[in-house]
């Protein structure tokens, strides 16, 4: 287990290197520099600025310097938010995004799993068809459609909840974005849970459990639940990645000051260092969370031995 963890961490290094390298060079081949824009700078001032940011050095040097700074947690300065470094922006925004993402994934599991189980137990009944149609709808209507609709209906027309803003993470402000972010994952998880529950319920060891004289609820809770959840656990990695990606638009729509919004604004404003910083940060986050999910899986399934 420990050696597997170390190996996975070792595999994460080239992955992150690729992300960083691609981002770095993409940024450098981008047309224009950080200082052209609002107004033309005198050549000598521009030269001074370039020297200050080490942009006059040869590219390999710059690359090494960037890597070195990264190791110290320094993503460089933001070009547009002049008073902030990218690191500062990420440190500011991350807790907000984290809170949003955490509640979204929790909600997705809390609703998706029971829905899937109910549909599986009432297989081919009207409840099953209803749940699965709703789930399909959740997949078909993307979050960037649901989010403005939610804001329109509950924020503007009914005025029950604020249509945007963060307000220090008050639950009223959080509710709509969390719902919008989790709907798609609820749908995926419900579908997956239903399929795997149906498969497990027809497996031989469930027949054994019934032959022991266990009641149906004992059969489901003790024997079917955990194995049926395994595919959902392995889906958690992609689910988390999906929620992180989704938070980019959701933060934008609801005006939430997380990293997602910085990312979009950075992208639209050509704030290359900010975009790159967030990409690298997200990359590291996704790699790390995937590792945690895989380790969680091995804890749940004794048949997995990560000794290779």
């Amino acid at each position: 287990m420990l050696s597997y963890t170390l190996k996975r961490l070792a595999l994460a290094i080239p992955t992150l290197l690729i992300v960083i390298t691609i981002s770095f060079f993409l940024m450098r081949v981008a047309p224009g520099g950080p200082f052209d824009g609002e107004r033309q700078l005198p050549p000598e001032i521009e030269a001074n600025l370039k020297a200050a940011y080490h942009l006059d050095e040869p590219l390999p040097m710059q690359y090494l310097r960037y890597m070195g700074n990264l190791l110290q947690g320094d993503f460089g300065p933001s070009f547009k938010y002049k008073d902030f470094s990218v690191t500062e922006l990420i440190v500011q925004g991350f807790p907000v995004s984290l809170e949003l993402g955490f509640w979204a994934i929790l909600l997705a599991l809390a609703i998706g799993l029971p829905l899937g189980v109910i549909a599986a137990l009432k297989r081919n009944s009207s409840i099953d068809y209803l749940v699965m149609s709703i789930a399909l709808g959740g997949i078909a209507v993307p979050n960037f459609v649901i989010a403005p609709l939610l804001a329109l209906v509950f924020g503007v027309l009914l005025a029950w909840l604020p249509a945007g803003g963060w307000n220090g993470g008050a639950w009223q402000n959080m509710l709509l974005p969390v719902i919008a972010l989790s709907i798609q994952q609820i749908a995926y998880i419900a579908r997956m849970m239903r399929a795997s529950m149906i498969e497990i319920l027809s497996s031989h060891f469930i027949r054994t459990a019934r032959a022991k004289g266990l009641s149906e609820s004992e059969v489901i809770w003790r024997h079917a639940m955990r194995p049926a959840m395994l595919p959902v656990v392995s889906y958690l990695g992609p689910a988390i990645a999906g929620i992180i990606t989704g938070s980019v638009v959701i933060e934008q729509i609801f005006g939430i000051p997380g990293i997602g919004r910085y990312f979009v604004q950075g992208a639209l404003n050509r704030d290359y260092t900010l975009v790159m910083g967030t990409v690298v940060f997200y990359g590291a986050l996704i790699v790390l969370l995937n590792l945690i999910v895989d380790l969680l899986y091995s804890v749940l399934d004794p048949q997995i031995r990560y000794d290779d």
Partner: protein, 535 residues
């Protein structure tokens, strides 16, 4: 005679399927007395498993069950679900055919056994644990104190079946239903499990409903036999009486379905067709991109000489390397050592060099469902080899040859436009034989060609192979785990274990007087104590 324990009276089971109703069991009646063993015998589709599952009321809800199942005077079809749960695992318990998948993979075996004890006996904690250890001991699991904390995947198939038996016997039931409990196991393991069941039956005085397709087992295991076909009981009787004077034609046919006859020794001076020297095959267990790979040696140095017209039988349990060796001989797998076919050294030939020889050496595999390409018609499957080896043939030539080959294996040539999934197991195996035969080969590798078939179908396939051999002077290499089939077909036998030959010789001699202990164990397990020594 002791009193009746289970009386099944006019039991009918219908399944509602989209295309209508399928009657799986139609008016079955039989009785099991306390402490006796009743064997329910039938081929696939006879309804024997449905009957036993209905007794436990474990059929899916879409099954319609009528009649009566009286257990200790109580009609199980009428009791409440709650009462039924008190009976399951307590008064009646069941073991299944699939030891590999019948245990919950995520729970330790100790917990799975203790669960029944907790449910029906209220045993918890250390009391339950010591009872579980006692049970594991009784079913012959070594080191029960350690094994109690194992997960199912850490045990072999035989051990898992023992754990299933421990679960079934934990509450000392009055009736044990054993649904093909040994079918998925190797013969030697099968014998051990049956012995264990007999032992435990005597100790606990329980009745056993033993469901099987294998009449050989029945003869040695059951007090009475009940033969089923098409969901109906054909004949019931005392085991001895039933075997000596079967009343019904179907029973007679089943008993005769034991492969009969032997093959006379071939001409000892016939020319050598295939010769193998010191054949080794190894598989990579872990292929590493860098560094040393790990290997497993499946075949460890085997010599073999095959003369024209001979049938060599290779016998062994699963994992003995017999199939691997057969594939290596046909150069379907890489191997080391020398193999010559018709005096040509084929070890050095590449794919193109092998191609002309391929029409002379053909193969028939075990799995009638996996060996035919599902998206091609039977005609296309059979003619594929003709396209490779006789490119000069016109479409019409090929069609004629295909029809001829189908007729040769007793299939209607009109069937050549159909797809494999429309045929039964036995028919598919005939198609596979036709595919090999159409090339007019000299040497045929038969890799467990009858193992997936019902006994009665098996006999007809064996008969077909015999006739073809006589007609075309074919040479067979027959691989099987089933000693009775090998005895019927082979003139020379090799017994394999762990990649090596433990014993070889003339079939009749080996079956009459096996020299090696392993061969003897195999035969004892298959109840093939020869008629000579029995007398």
């Amino acid at each position: 005679m002791s009193k009746a324990l289970l009386e099944i009276d006019n039991l009918c089971v219908d399944f509602q399927v989209p295309s209508g109703t399928v009657s799986a069991v139609r008016g079955v009646s039989f009785t099991i007395h306390e402490g006796e063993t009743l064997a329910l015998v039938g081929e696939s589709g006879s309804g024997k498993s449905v009957t036993s599952t209905a007794t436990m009321r474990l059929l899916p809800e879409l099954a319609k069950v009528t009649g009566a199942i009286r257990f200790d005077g109580e009609d199980l079809l009428k009791v409440t679900p709650k009462r039924m749960r008190r009976i399951r695992g307590n008064d009646i318990s069941m073991i299944f055919q699939e030891p590999m998948t019948s245990l919950n993979p995520l729970h330790r075996i100790g917990r799975q056994i203790a669960e029944v004890l907790g449910k029906h006996r209220g045993l918890k904690g250390s009391a339950a644990r010591s009872k579980v250890i006692e049970l594991l001991n009784q079913v012959g699991i070594p080191e029960p104190e350690r094994r109690i904390d194992s997960y199912p995947h850490e045990l072999s198939g035989g051990q898992r079946q023992r754990v299933m038996i421990a679960i079934a016997l934990a509450c000392e039931p009055k009736l044990l239903i054993a649904d093909e409990p040994t079918t998925a196991l190797d013969v030697t393991v099968q014998a051990q499990i049956l012995e264990l069941l007999k032992d435990l039956q005597q100790r606990y005085g329980m009745a056993i409903l033993f469901i099987t397709h294998d009449l050989t087992l029945v003869k040695h295991f059951a007090d009475r036999v009940c033969v089923m076909r098409y969901g109906e009981v054909v004949e019931t009787g005392e085991t001895q009486a039933l075997f000596t004077s079967p009343q019904h034609d179907y029973t007679k046919m089943l008993i005769d379905a034991e492969p009969q006859g032997t093959k006379a020794m071939g001409d000892a001076n016939a020319p050598v067709l295939l010769e193998a020297r010191d054949v080794h095959v190894r598989f990579a267990l872990k292929k590493r991109l860098f560094g040393k790979s790990e290997y497993f040696e499946a075949v460890r140095g085997i010599d073999l000489t095959v003369r024209r017209g001979q049938t060599i039988g290779i016998v062994g349990e699963s994992g003995s390397g017999k199939s691997t060796f057969g594939r290596a001989l046909l150069r379907l797998l890489d191997s080391s050592g020398d193999i010559t076919f018709e005096q040509v050294d084929i070890t050095q030939l590449d794919k193109n060099g092998m191609r002309p020889l391929r029409s002379k050496m053909q193969v028939v595999f075990q799995d009638p469902f996996g060996s035919l390409s599902p998206r091609l018609t039977v005609g296309e499957i059979i003619s594929e080899g003709l396209k490779v080896h006789h490119p000069e043939f016109t479409r019409r030539d090929r069609d004629a040859r295909v029809a001829e080959a189908l007729a040769e294996v007793s299939l209607d040539p009109a069937m050549r436009n159909r797809y494999p999934h429309e045929f039964s197991g036995g028919q598919r195996q005939r198609i596979a034989i036709a595919r090999a035969l159409v090339l007019k080969p000299e040497f045929l590798l038969l890799d467990e060609p009858t193992s997936a078939l019902d006994r009665s179908v098996q006999v007809t396939v064996i008969e077909l192979l015999r006739n073809l051999q006589r007609k075309y002077d074919l040479t067979y290499l027959f691989i099987s785990h089933d000693l009775s089939v090998v005895r019927a077909l082979a003139d020379t036998v090799l017994v394999m274990k762990e990649g090596q030959v433990v014993e070889r010789g003339i079939a009749a001699e080996i079956f009459a007087a096996p020299k090696e202990p392993y061969t003897r164990a195999l035969m004892k397990a298959a109840f093939l104590t020869s008629p000579v020594s029995a007398a």
